[in-house]
């Protein structure tokens, strides 16, 4: 009956076999991602702490100069250009995320109240435009907002813009482009939240709190909060790092962090400065993801949000 004399051969053989299997299946992909993404990102982070060479390439010695440049300190003393870009990125992210919430919330609610057989098709209709190439979608907005188009004409006649200026390039066009681009990212998680809505709670609330506003605030809104937060992360993180939309719709005064970073690797050629900007984006990304996990856990369920 005792177990003492058992030889562990069969067990250890099976364990070796399983480990070899794990290695065989996982190693190619893991190695690929490590070599072609983890190493390059690590290299990029290293570049941020190097000195800018004469041809825009990084050189020794290590320094924090590029972070100082990012904060506006250059050879010619302090200039606010880069800081403006950073602040504009933050501002555009906030405004566009807010607008996306305002549009997506009623849309997600509306879809969840429609007949069940229509809902997948309605969701599909919301998502399909985002399958098209981002450049093409943004180009569509350029066509719509250019000088001489009906929309620009309308804005002119209302006195919003100077004659013959068109609605683009402008910060407004960038905001519009961002809202357009990220709307589906918000509708999907919000819809998932509305679909799971416990209607008994809503009815109880209607019973207990007389006004519909209070019923909404106490019974509906808290239940959709996880979906809302997931949507905010899905919108805000990529919006903060957006490159294509400000580049095409924003013009010189619409630049965002993504453009600042990209320019350092093409025309402007200051790799360390660009890398420092990239680190800023990474930090924002991981803060966003971390916040989502924490809040997601606190709101219970511990449910993973699938992207």
């Amino acid at each position: 009956m005792s177990y003492a004399g058992v030889t562990p051969t069969a067990r250890s053989r099976a364990m070796v076999r399983e480990s070899r299997h794990l290695l065989f299946t996982v190693a190619p992909g893991a190695t690929w991602i490590i070599i072609f993404l983890v190493l390059p990102s690590a290299y990029l982070m290293g570049v941020a702490f190097m000195t800018n060479g004469p041809y825009g390439l990084p050189e020794m010695p290590l320094s924090l100069a590029s972070f100082e440049r990012l904060a506006g300190f250059g050879f010619l003393g302090w200039s606010p250009g880069n800081l403006y870009t950073l602040l504009r990125s933050l501002w555009q992210t906030l405004v566009s995320t807010g607008l996306v919430v305002i549009v997506a919330y009623p849309i997600a609610y509306y879809i969840s109240t429609c007949r069940e057989k229509w809902r997948p098709i309605m969701l599909l209709l919301v998502v399909v435009p985002s399958w098209t190439n981002q450049v093409i979608r943004t180009f569509g907005w350029m066509n719509l907002l250019a000088p001489g188009t009906p929309l620009s004409g309308l804005a002119e006649s209302l006195g919003w813009i100077a004659p013959n200026m068109g609605l683009y390039p402008s910060n407004f066009a960038v905001t519009l482009g961002l809202v357009y681009n990220f709307l589906p990212f918000m509708v999907l998680p919000l819809y998932a939240a509305f679909e799971k809505l416990d209607t008994a709670q809503v009815e109880a609330a209607q019973d207990l709190y007389a006004s519909p506003v209070r019923a909404f605030w106490h019974a509906v809104f808290p239940q959709t909060l996880p979906g809302l937060l997931a949507g905010i992360v899905l919108v805000a993180i990529p919006a903060f790092g957006m490159y294509v939309i400000p580049e095409l719709l924003g013009g010189g005064k619409g630049m965002m962090l993504g453009n600042l970073v990209a320019n350092q690797f093409s025309g402007g050629a200051n790799w360390p400065l660009g890398a420092a900007g990239a680190i800023l984006m990474l930090i924002a990304t991981f803060i966003g993801l971390y916040a989502m996990r924490r809040i997601g856990k606190r709101l219970g369920g511990g449910e993973e949000v699938v992207i």
Binding site: E18, L124, N133, I136, R137, F139, F265
Partner: protein, 265 residues
């Protein structure tokens, strides 16, 4: 009474939003058939821009590059991602947190950081060793990197949805390890593989930022060509090529969706 007003208001808002979502695409498609080259006024129906496309060597080569890039990268990603997806499933009871982080990394990394990391890396390696000349090769590598996670997650979720005793039934019914792969696993996950391939393909064709930074002078894809054309000054040909791409991506995406539906069924 109040409820009905709300519902009517929402219905109106829904159609307004749909118009907002489809207007830019509709404009591109409409003006691709414009007889004049005005971007503001539609003067009549014509196919002249489509005819121009056929004569444009640059566009044809960009199209070829896009296709080669999408197909080759999707095939490689399918193989590698499929293995990881199965490995994640088979060893799901082990602590594989590091692997999950690794798999999600390409998904959560901002495009621009992804693109410039690869570019900086390839440029430096090229300077040191002569390998990784920017071009289709580096683009394929970059695309495979962001496609792997999607393939892996699709394959993994297909396996998780299966009755685990099926694997044992296959063993029990005399299937050797190789025959288990050929006669049981691959046919069972076939819908997931097809769906994953089309998703990878769509992601590749759709991508601009990462392609842009890893491309070489000769390897422009359609989005890169369009980008360049927009930057140079708008030509109505872009409307035509964009319309074709909208159509192609919509078809591929619908096929992917059909197979993912069947997967759930």
């Amino acid at each position: 009474m109040r409820k009905r007003t709300l519902k009517r208001g929402l219905t109106g808002f829904w159609w307004f939003t749909l118009a907002f979502l489809y207007l830019p695409l509709a404009v591109v498609m409409l003006f691709s058939f414009n007889a004049s080259n005005s971007a503001a006024r539609f003067t009549g129906f014509s196919l002249r821009w489509y005819e121009r496309l056929l004569g444009n060597e640059e566009i044809l080569s960009a199209f070829a590059n896009s296709m080669v890039l999408a197909i080759v990268s999707s095939v490689i990603a399918l193989g590698i991602g499929c293995l990881i997806g199965y490995g994640m499933y088979r060893h799901r009871h082990r602590k594989l947190g590091w692997l999950i982080v690794l798999i999600y990394l390409p998904i959560v990394l901002p495009d621009i950081v992804f693109g410039i990391s690869e570019m900086a890396f390839f440029v430096q390696i090229h300077r040191l060793t002569g390998l990784f000349q920017p071009g289709l090769g580096t683009m394929i590598i970059a695309h495979v990197t962001f496609q792997i996670p999607f393939v892996a997650l699709i394959v993994y979720s297909r396996f998780v949805g299966l009755d685990p005793t099926l694997f044992e039934a296959a063993k029990d019914l005399y299937a050797t390890p190789a025959k288990r792969v050929i006669h049981f696993m691959l046919p069972t996950i076939k819908p997931a593989l097809i769906s994953a391939f089309f998703l990878s393909f769509t992601l590749s064709v759709d991508d601009f930022v990462i392609s842009f930074f890893t491309a070489g002078p000769e390897s422009a894809t359609l989005p890169i060509y369009i980008w360049g054309a927009i930057k140079k000054g708008v030509s109505p040909e872009i409307n035509a090529i964009a319309t074709l791409m909208i159509g192609a991506v919509a078809i591929a995406a619908i096929i992917s969706l059909m197979f993912s539906r069947r997967r759930q069924a």
